[in-house]
Structure formats: C-alpha cells, structure tokens
C-alpha cells in the first residue's frame, strides 16, 4: 500500500516535472532563455500557419512575460491618469496587440541559430545576453531582462541596443499626446487596429 502510494507519488512528480520543463530549468536564467529560444523557433517556424502561430504566441506571452508590468511601464505617466476600467481595458488590448504584432514580425525569422552568450545581474533584474547568428553579416544581439528568482518573467527585450518596451512607450505616449492626453483615445485606436486586423 505504502509502496504503491510512493510509486504514484513519484509518477506524479515526474509528470509535473515533464509537464513544466521551464519550471525545472528556472533556477538558471540562461537556461530559461535558451529553452524559450528553442520553443520560439518551433513556434515561429516558417511552416507554421498564422492562426496557430498566434495561438502559441499568446500562451508564450502569457506564461513568460511580465505583461502587467510591461503594460504599466508602456503607459508611462498616463497609467496614473487612467481610470481602473481604462487600465484593465488597456492591458487586455495591449496583450492582444503584442501577440498580433510580434507573431507577424517574427514570422520572417528564418530559424537562424540562436545562442545564449551570458548573464549578469542588473539591480533586481537579470540580463541574459544572446545573439542570433545570421549567415550573412554580423550577429544581432538580443538582451533579455528578467525578474524573479527560481521562476522568471521577461520584462523587456533589447534588439541591437533598442528596447522594445521603450519603443512601445514612446509610440503610445505620442498617440495619447496627440489626442489631448486622453488614454481613451489610445484604447480606441488599439481596438480599431485589432478589429481591422481581423
């Protein structure tokens, strides 16, 4: 009886470990990004149809990115101006916007070798450096900013020294400013963009 319980227990542990490979890797920030890279290559493979790619991307974003934190940063000073309802609407739309934008943007990625080159602490965060080796030309540096210990969430991605988070913030700030400082205008435009994309 006890032996059977132990066996079932061991099996459960094994299933859990196998089911969450990232959690097992999570002690190591480099391992986290390396695994993510492998998954991304599968997700982004040129043969994957757009709808499926978007669905997988949605899961990936949700699991591995600090979306509330990124969303708040991206809204910048307007986060405090926004009503709780606007904040909630914005976060939901922003997440979907990211999925659409990046699944298309990275769809061109031809599966060039991706390798993790290092990791260093940066205050509360850990920066994992990596590069995408192109067959023609110099490699593209991609830096991943991670928070957490044991399990990680991505807070920003730098490509060739350009922050995705800052770029997004600058764009959204411009949209809000050009619409009289109204967060509602940004939300309306996001909604419109997503509707137009189908």
């Amino acid at each position: 009886m006890i032996r059977r319980c132990a066996a079932v227990g061991a099996l459960l542990v094994m299933v859990l470990v196998l089911a969450t490979p990232r959690a097992a890797m999570a002690q190591d920030a480099r391992g986290f990004i390396a695994t993510l890279g492998e998954q991304a290559i599968q997700v982004l493979g040129p043969g994957v149809p757009e709808v499926q790619r978007q669905a997988r991307f949605r899961v990936l974003f949700h699991d591995d990115f600090d979306l509330p934190g990124i969303g708040q940063f991206v809204l910048g000073r307007y986060w405090r101006v926004a009503t709780p309802q606007e904040q909630q609407d914005f976060l939901a739309l922003f997440q979907e916007y990211l999925v659409r934008a990046y699944s298309a943007r990275l769809g061109q990625y031809g599966g060039e070798p991706f390798r993790v080159t290092g990791a260093r602490p940066n205050g509360e965060e850990t920066i994992v450096t990596s590069e995408i080796v192109r067959h023609n030309g110099s490699p593209i540096g991609v830096d991943w900013y991670l928070i957490g210990h044991g399990s990680f969430k991505i807070t920003d991605v730098y490509v060739s020294g350009v922050s995705m988070k800052v770029t997004q913030r600058d764009e959204f700030a411009s949209v809000i400013q050009r619409n009289g400082g109204q967060v509602a205008a940004l939300i309306a435009q996001l909604r419109q963009k997503l509707a137009a994309a189908g």
Partner: protein, 272 residues
C-alpha cells in the same frame, strides 16, 4: 552629390533652428491639451514635429513610389551572392572613414579591427568583394562623425526628418557632411570620375533599402503611429551606437526621468 547638397540643407536647418530657438516652446500656448500633456518637444526632442511629419509623409511617398520598387527589382534581378558582394564592397569602401572615427574617439581596439578588416578584405577579399575578415572573427562595426561628435560631448540638437535621407539631427547631419568631405574615396572619385560618387550613394541606398523591405513594412503595418515608432527607434539606435555596444546596460528610466528629453540645447550645437 551628397557632399554638395547637404551643406545647403544643413544651413537652412540651422537658420530655421536659430530663428525658432529664440521663441518659447513652439505651439505650447495654442495647444489646449498642453496643461495636462507634455508636448513632443519635451518628451521626444522634437520641437518641429508638425514639419517633420510633413516631410516624413513626403519621404514615405517617395519610398513607396521609387525606393521600394527599385529595391525589390534589385533583389529579384541579382542573386543573393552578388548582392552580398555588393554589400561587402560598399562596406569596405567605408573602412577609412570608420577607421578615422574610431581613432577620433580613442577607440584603439576598434580602430585596429577596422584597419585589419580593410587590409584583409581589400587584398584577400579581392577589392572588398568578400568579407573574409568576418569569417576569421573580425566582425564589422559601424562608426561615423555623428557618433564622434556625440562622444566629444556635443548635443544632438532637435530631431529632424531630412527629405529623402530620413531621420537625423543637426549633430548627425554635420557628421554626414564631415564624413563625406573626409572620405578618401570621394576625393579620388570627385577628381577622376564624379559618376562613381553618385553611383556609390545610389547603390548604398538601394542595398540598404533592399535589406529592410520586410521589417519596415511590418512596422508600418502594425504601428499605431509609424512616425513616433521610427523616431523612437532612431534615437535609441543612435544612443546604442554612441555607447559602442550592441547590448544595453542601464535600465531604462521612465519618461518622467527625461531620458528621451535629453538635449534641447540647439544653441549649444550651433555655437560650436
């Protein structure tokens, strides 16, 4: 061509800049939302945003009508190895200017790399047509006088969109002019064959555009505000180049911290 026309544009810009820098923040008083929302002049170092957006629209139209079709044809007609050789050749031509700027910035190691690349690629790489240096582990890096000015402490001045050339600022424009004058290839060519200068400029443009067709189209398609996105990308990319690193060290500070507001001191860059 590049050398002749740019000073005129630059002088025009500087005069315009001088005229406006005497006034208060442009448009601030007439903007009803100014009380709550900071203007683009503060956040994005872009006091001439409306003019810039106009020129940006013009550039987009030229891009769509001329550059993209030419770049696409270029890509269809020439096979990848040929295009790669064209690219490597043009990049090798930039060697002397990159070397000079490496030195001006005191980046001795980078200068050594550039010199080694130049020697290797010009000889073993048959006049620069093959980038052998990258193959043996001496990768290309860009450098220009705009970066040198930045390293020396000059302010960027306001963001400007130059017709056809695209995003820039007085510091980078002055750098382009200086690089053009200082380029030994231009000296040689303008004395013996002016057409070569024109051909080089045109081919460089086509090569560059043909490498960015998808990524730029994608930004345009997904962006809510394409102009603002490009402006942000330009500023960040230049800052990264000035730091001489692909990767980024400091954590980005929020807009309130004024990381993008940087330097509205146009008077300073003119005074120098």
């Amino acid at each position: 061509m590049r050398v002749r026309r740019l000073p005129l544009i630059l002088i025009g810009l500087l005069v315009a800049g001088l005229a406006v820098s005497g006034c208060a923040a442009p448009g601030a008083s007439s903007d009803p939302g100014a009380a709550q929302s900071a203007s683009a002049a503060d956040d994005f170092n872009d006091p001439y945003e409306e003019t810039n957006r106009g020129v940006f629209g013009f550039n987009q139209a030229v891009d769509e009508a001329v550059l993209v079709p030419v770049a696409k044809t270029y890509r269809t007609v020439l096979p990848p190895p040929v295009r790669q050789s064209v690219h490597d050749f043009l990049q090798n031509l930039d060697g002397p200017v990159i070397f000079a700027n490496d030195m001006l910035q005191g980046e001795v190691k980078l200068a050594g790399n550039t010199l080694a690349r130049l020697l290797l690629n010009t000889t073993v790489g048959i006049g620069g047509m093959f980038d052998v240096a990258t193959l043996i582990g001496i990768p290309y890096h860009s450098n220009d006088l705009g970066i040198t000015f930045a390293v020396w402490g000059f302010a960027a001045g306001p963001y400007v969109i130059v017709p056809v050339l695209g995003p820039s600022n007085p510091r980078d424009l002055a750098g382009r002019v200086g690089d053009g004058f200082g380029d030994p290839a231009n000296y040689f060519a303008s004395a013996h064959m002016l057409w070569a200068v024109v051909a080089r400029t045109a081919t460089t443009g086509i090569d560059e555009r043909s490498r960015n067709i998808e990524s730029l189209a994608d930004i345009e398609r997904t962006a809510l505000d394409n102009y603002a996105t490009i402006r942000s990308l330009y500023r960040q990319r230049r800052e990264a180049q000035i730091r001489h690193e692909q990767s980024n060290l400091p954590n980005p500070t929020p807009i309130q911290g004024g990381d993008g507001a940087a330097d509205p001191s146009l008077s300073y860059s003119i005074a120098k």
